[in-house]
């Protein structure tokens, strides 16, 4: 093997010396491949992301609901199934929420739950009964924060919240996302409020007080390892669904029997209760009758008692009389007896006085005697004493005298003198005598004579005295005898007194006795009277009692009569109810089971549709894109090879084989293509799906996109890329290499100048200036490249137009829907169960508001439209109270025929997209399902323009003829000139009304809508940017080829003295014309592409505005021209530096 290093060097040099060309091929391929692979991958990536997410959150495969709830029987049936991986019973209930009365689905959550796991976006899941985790959606997060206190309310006036859940106040503890609800704005249908769920909330399962589960969720073993979007999965789930449905219905029949039996038992109980009630009623009547009899007896008794009492009174009165007489007699007798006694007493006292006086006289006499007697006795005694004393002294003196005086001591003498100082005799004192004796002056005889004379005088005094005393004693005795006599009569008087006292005592005793007797009589009498009084008051009491009894009886009677009516009515009603219940029981049907698989969940399907729509877009857009890229690559490669004829010829002449020569071009093309493709794949698989998915994140609550690599798209894009470069190279080379080196080395004859068609139109040709002619001729000289340029530019322009068109189509919806189609501003959902006062208040609010231009009562319900092969659609039905007025609120006009419809005349009018989806026309029948699962079939009277959502407008006549229920208007459409302030005001006013459930404003819907449109916008921006990028590269590349092909010509005019801008314009004039032609062609092509893309990209519940706005064309034109200008500037720089000498030197 020979070394051919020179050859490889040459290849490398070729690449480095023609960087612009190399990179333009690289970028073309990069854009083509990247765009193709990226867009193709987006759809599958989205599906994979969703599928992974559902697997991760353990989303159910099968969801079972029933109008009877789900009991142990159903659970048991499923629990036995082998194929089931997990089975869980959950609770849920639709309630009103918060001040705005949003309609939310309250879902019970248990830590044990494995299925439909929530993703916690903020905070946590509820851990206590009064905690709630809320939907992480804008509706909620714009109003509530963690820690907020929220209230829920029963959605149904007829039922209490406590029948379903035990708590009504909750603290928000978290925000979560459920795999069951992946869109941001829709939570499905409900039977409360205005029929649409706004959000969901998660509370502990224990909070629910329901007897039966509301939902059973199932996952299957078979689903573990397959994509939920695979056909096998869908088929398998359908099989399970089809198998379980009849099985469940069997269980349901059993449950029905049970329910019937239970109900019959209840009816029986009801009957018993009624009987009891009846019995009670008759008992009460019986009691009343008895009471009446008793009352009458009482009356009689009372009369008798009255008579007795009368008698008793008379008797008592009599006895009282007797008693008074007795007392009088007794008192008179007593006075008489007392008087007698007093007389006797007086007599006795008189005699006693006389005796006493006598006694007193005697006493006085006696007392007169006493004094002299006592004196005499006293004198006698004194005389006796003196005599004794003298006698005694005499003896002592005798003793003394026996003793001589000189023997006596002075002391003894003095004692004698002292002791006898007071003893005197006839005036001579003894002491002085003794003195004299001692002194010897007086003899003993003298003394003894003195003494004996004194004694004798004393004894004569005594005898005299004794005679006087005897006399007095005689007088006294006389007096004492008289005194004794008087005292005897006094004794007699005392005896008389005593007898009198006895008599008085007797009298007193007698009196006491009588008084006792009288008191006894009195007491008896008093007792009699007391008894009488007692009797009397008793009688009075009895009388009052009787009157009370009478009143009670009468009241009782009245009450009874009144209540008997009510009770009888109640009983009658209850009986009626029981009869009804029995009747109903007879007509009672077995529970209906609603089995839904994932593919019945509109949101999941919608997501799939969106992903598939992405894939659809990914088919048409990248194909156009890729085609252009391939076309330009082809042109570039062709040009490159043509430029190198001489080199090829030289190599060939030098003896290199064709293969060697080809190698260079293959390697060149291959390296540019491969690098471009690899970079394109790398960028395409990562960047594009992410950008697009991020846009969809506005609509969906899903985790970040799961990227993936796809061999199919990789191989396809590689194949196309390599084809467009390598096969082109091969083709061009094959042609050139066939010729001999000599021919090759000779320059390829330059394109021959030719007269062009325009020249034949002489007047026109003549009018053109020289440069225009040159340009015109040049244009037609390079027809192939002209075609390429036009195709390339038109393709890009078409892509841009389609991009903007799509944007316009989407944005247009909002304007058309809310500007042209819906002329009302708000829908007020009303509670038909509200009281008439509440309704009146509401009516006044609306009527008094001057800003409101018009209002229309409607019945609103969300229906389901189903058809195999079509995603189930929600259809909003409006039945206006006054069908003639509807066209003031909603435009009822066909979009294409401009025919207007009248609800009164045409009956049922549906919207365009619904008609298209379900393939119905005016005059066809369309069957819809109501929220209660009833079928509603209407004959389409007209199809009208509408862009967002599906609507059915029905006249009340038709509705009522089809539905047995009475039409109750539950909403009102309001029309007023929109202003934010007014809406805030209105909202305030309406929130006070109990009649109003919620108010939805078109303006806020419009805003929401615009948000969701935002996602498509981003896709569109991706399209536009990519298309613009492609336009740029295409223009650059083609211009580059043009320049290099005509470098000699350009050098010539440069040498001729053309200024730089004249040189640029010399070639660019053609480019401008080609660009303009491209734009025009692109406009046509874009229109077609737009229609095709709109068709594939359309959403089920949305009709794009199919008309393509002139601004789309304008933008595309401007963008293309901007790129053209940019390329021109780049070329200008390049041309400025063209070495004209070099170019002109060689022979071509």
């Amino acid at each position: 093997m020979q070394k051919k290093t020179a050859l490889y060097k040459m290849i490398w040099r070729e690449i480095t010396s023609s960087k612009a060309r190399f990179f333009s091929i690289l970028f073309l391929i990069l854009l083509g491949v990247g765009f193709f692979a990226g867009l193709q991958a987006t759809g599958p990536n989205m599906l994979k992301t969703a599928d992974d997410y559902f697997d991760q959150q353990n989303l159910y495969d099968l969801h079972i609901q029933s109008n009877y709830g789900l009991d142990e029987e159903e659970y048991a049936l499923l629990d036995d199934k082998e194929e089931i991986e997990a089975l869980e019973g959950h609770y849920s209930s639709d309630v009103l929420f918060g001040e705005d009365r949003l309609v939310i689905k309250l879902i019970g959550y248990d830590e044990e739950n494995q299925l439909n796991q929530f993703r916690v976006d903020e905070g946590r899941l509820p851990e206590r009964p009064n905690e709630i985790a809320l939907d992480y959606s804008d509706v909620i997060t714009s109003q509530y924060e963690l820690g907020d206190e929220v209230m829920i309310y029963s959605g149904n006036k007829d039922s209490n919240l406590s029948d379903t859940v035990s708590e009504s106040t909750y603290t928000v503890v978290g925000f979560v996302t459920s795999p069951r609800f992946i869109t941001n704005d829709s939570r499905g249908q409900t039977t409360i409020g205005r029929g649409q769920l706004d959000a969901f909330g998660v509370v502990q399962a224990d909070v629910f007080t329901l007897d039966v589960y509301t939902d059973l969720f199932v996952t299957f073993k078979a689903s573990a390892n397959q994509s939920m979007y695979s056909d096998t999965y869908i088929d398998q789930m359908k099989d399970y669904k089809d198998t379980y449905e009849p099985a469940l219905e069997d269980v349901g029949t059993g449950r029905l029997d049970q329910i019937k039996a239970d109900a019959e038992e209840e009816v029986e109980e009801g009957r018993t209760e009624i009987e009891e009630a009846k019995q009670e009623l008759s008992d009460a009547e019986q009691e009343l009758t008895e009471a009446k009899t008793e009352l009458e007896t009482g009356k009689e008794e009372l009369e008798l008692a009255e008579a007795d009492l009368e008698e008793a009174f008379l008797e008592l009165d009599r006895e009282e009389q007797n008693y008074r007489e007795g007392v009088d007699t007794f008192e008179q007798e007593m006075i008489k007896a007392k008087k007698q006694l007093r007389d006797q007493e007086e007599t006795l006292e008189e005699s006693e006085q006389q005796v006493q006086d006598g006694l007193s006289e005697i006493e006085a006499g006696l007392n007169q005697l006493n004094e002299p007697f006592v004196d005499l006795v006293t004198q006698e005694t004194a005389l006796l004493d003196q005599r004794d004393q003298i006698r005694q002294l005499n003896q002592q003196l005798t003793a003394l005298f026996q003793t001589p005086t000189d023997q006596l001591t002075d002391g003894m003498k003095q004692d004698w003198i002292d002791e006898t100082a007071e003893v005197t005799f006839n005036e001579t004192s003894l002491s002085s005598l003794l003195q004299g004796y001692f002194n010897g002056t007086v003899t003993q005889e003298e003394i003894k004579t003195v003494i004996a004379s004194t004694d004798a005088s004393l004894t004569s005094g005594i005898s005299e005295l004794r005679t006087n005393i005897n006399e007095i004693n005689t007088q006294r005795a006389e007096l004492e005898t008289q005194q004794q006599e008087l005292e005897g009569s006094l004794q007699e008087i005392e005896a008389g007194k005593e007898a009198l006292e006895d008599a008085r005592t007797d009298l007193n005793n007698q009196r006491t006795e009588t008084e006792q007797e009288l008191a006894d009589g009195r007491r008896q009498l008093d007792e009699g009277w007391a008894e009488y009084d007692q009797g009397l008051s008793e009688l009075e009491e009895a009388r009052v009692d009787l009157a009370q009894g009478q009143a009670d009886y009468e009241e009782g009677l009245q009450t009874f009569n009144e209540e008997r009516q009510d009770a009888e009515r109640d009983i009658e009603e209850a009986e009626q109810e029981l009869d009804d219940a029995l009747e109903e029981l007879d007509t009672l049907e077995a529970p209906t089971y609603y089995l839904t698989v994932r593919h019945d969940n509109g949101q999941l399907v919608e997501f799939e549709d969106n992903a598939e729509r992405m894939s659809d877009l990914a088919t048409i857009f990248p194909v156009v894109f890729f085609l252009i890229a391939a076309l330009v690559t082809l042109t570039t490669v062709t040009r490159m090879i043509e430029e190198q004829r001489i080199e090829m010829g030289t190599l060939k002449a030098l003896g290199y084989t064709d293969r060697d020569i080809q190698k260079k071009y293959y390697l060149y093309a291959l390296s540019a293509t491969l690098f471009g493709a690899i970079l394109g794949l790398a960028l395409g698989y990562t960047l594009l799906p992410k950008v697009i998915f991020n846009a969809y994140q506005i609509l969906y609550n899903l985790p970040p996109l799961a990227l993936d690599f796809y061999w199919s798209f990789t191989l396809i894009s590689l194949a196309v890329a390599l084809f467009s470069s390598l096969v082109t190279a091969w083709y061009v080379l094959r042609k050139d290499l066939k010729t001999t080196p000599a021919i090759l080395m000779r320059p390829k004859a330059p394109k021959v100048g030719k007269r062009i068609l325009v020249e034949r139109i002489t007047p026109l040709w003549r009018r053109m200036n020289f440069m225009q002619k040159v340009t015109a001729r040049n244009l037609f000289r390079y027809k192939q490249r002209m075609l390429m340029t036009v195709i390339g530019i038109s393709g890009c322009a078409a892509l841009i137009i389609t991009g903007f068109g799509l944007k316009g189509a989407v944005e247009g919806i909002v304007d058309l829907q809310f500007g042209r189609v819906m002329n009302y501003e708000a829908v007020v959902a009303l509670d038909s169960a509200a009281s008439s006062t509440e309704k009146e208040v509401y009516r006044d609010i609306i009527a008094d508001n001057e800003t409101i231009e018009a209002s229309l009562m409607v019945y609103q319900e969300t229906l389901d439209a189903n058809k195999s092969g079509v995603t189930p659609q929600d259809v909003t039905m409006f039945v206006p109270e006054n069908p003639a007025e509807l066209d003031q609120f909603v435009q009822l006009k066909n979009r294409t025929s401009a025919e207007t419809f009248d609800l009164e005349k045409d009956g049922a009018i549906i919207t365009e997209k619904l008609a298209t989806l379900f393939e119905v026309e005016k005059g066809d029948d369309l069957t819809l399902t109501t929220a209660d699962d009833d079928a509603l079939t209407v004959t389409v009277g007209g199809v009208v323009e509408n862009y967002a959502g599906h609507y059915l407008y029905l006249s009340p006549d038709i509705y009522e003829s089809m539905q047995s229920t009475v039409l109750e208007y539950n909403a009102e459409l309001l029309k007023y000139p929109y202003s934010e302030d007014f809406e805030a005001e209105l909202s305030d006013a309406l929130s006070d009304s109990d009649y109003v459930i919620t108010t939805s404003y078109n303006q806020s819907m419009l805003n929401l809508f615009e948000d969701s449109m935002e996602s498509l916008n981003i896709v569109v921006v991706v399209l536009i940017v990519s298309a613009a990028g492609l336009a740029f590269i295409v223009l650059y590349n083609l211009t580059n080829i043009n320049v290099s092909e005509r470098i000699r010509e350009l050098s010539t005019i440069k040498v001729l003295g053309f200024y730089d801008n004249e040189v640029t314009m010399y070639i660019y004039r053609e480019n401008i014309i080609l660009t303009l032609m491209g734009i025009v062609a692109g406009g046509l092509f874009g229109r077609l592409l737009h229609i095709f893309v709109l068709d594939t990209a359309s959403m089920d519940n949305m009709m794009f505005n199919p008309s393509l706005s002139w601004t789309s064309y304008l933008y595309a034109a401007i963008l293309t021209m901007v790129f053209s200008t940019m390329v021109m500037l780049m070329m200008h720089r390049k041309l400025k530096h063209v070495d004209m000498i070099e170019a002109l030197k060689s022979n071509e």
Binding site: K751, G753, K773, R777, I1053, L1056, D1060, I1141, L1144
Partner: protein
Amino acid sequence: MSYVRVVDEFKRYTMGENTIVANNGISFDVEQGQFAVILGPSGAGKSTVLNILGGMDSPDEGHIYVENNDISQYSKKQLTTYRRDDVGFVFQFYNLVPNLTARENIELASQISPDALDVDEVMESVGLTDRRDNFPAQLSGGEQQRVAIARALAKNPKLLLCDEPTGALDIETGKQILRLLQKTARDFNTTVIVITHNGQIAPMADRVIYIHDAKVKEIVENPRPRSVDEIEW
């Protein structure tokens, strides 16, 4: 003062690490209305001189005066204007625009030139009136070169520069061209400078400048130039 004066002109090209001196101090004069020939072997630097004279390149050193204007100091724009107004070029390979007819090729030049001559007159003077609407591919080499000369002349240039104008032509046709060029110098009082490696042309020039090894070897005044017909190849 001569009409064209080249004074000490140097031109060097850098090719990688090597510096090639194309013109190494070239000086010569050409008078107005003269038919001058610059003669020298291939690679001697003749074309460089012509390019610089024609305003397609600028010298590294030295001055070039044309009608007393120092074009060596001209900016690119001034050079373009100079080419546009004062210079006519004739190339060895004609360099006609293939997409334009003979007349249009001439118009291409006359359209931009202020003193342009009447296109048809010029065509007549080069004897191409009946070929006016033919495309270059429909013309013979001589005819093409005559168109090229007519294109150069139509501007009514002060200076007509010809780079090997006969190089690609047979002798007879070459003679025709040379005759035309000589006649032009005489009739229009245009200064014509022809570069060639063909020494046989030298006798018909008013002045012959010999260039060898990037230097002027000799300048020969020819007081009585011969006519083309007198020259034998």
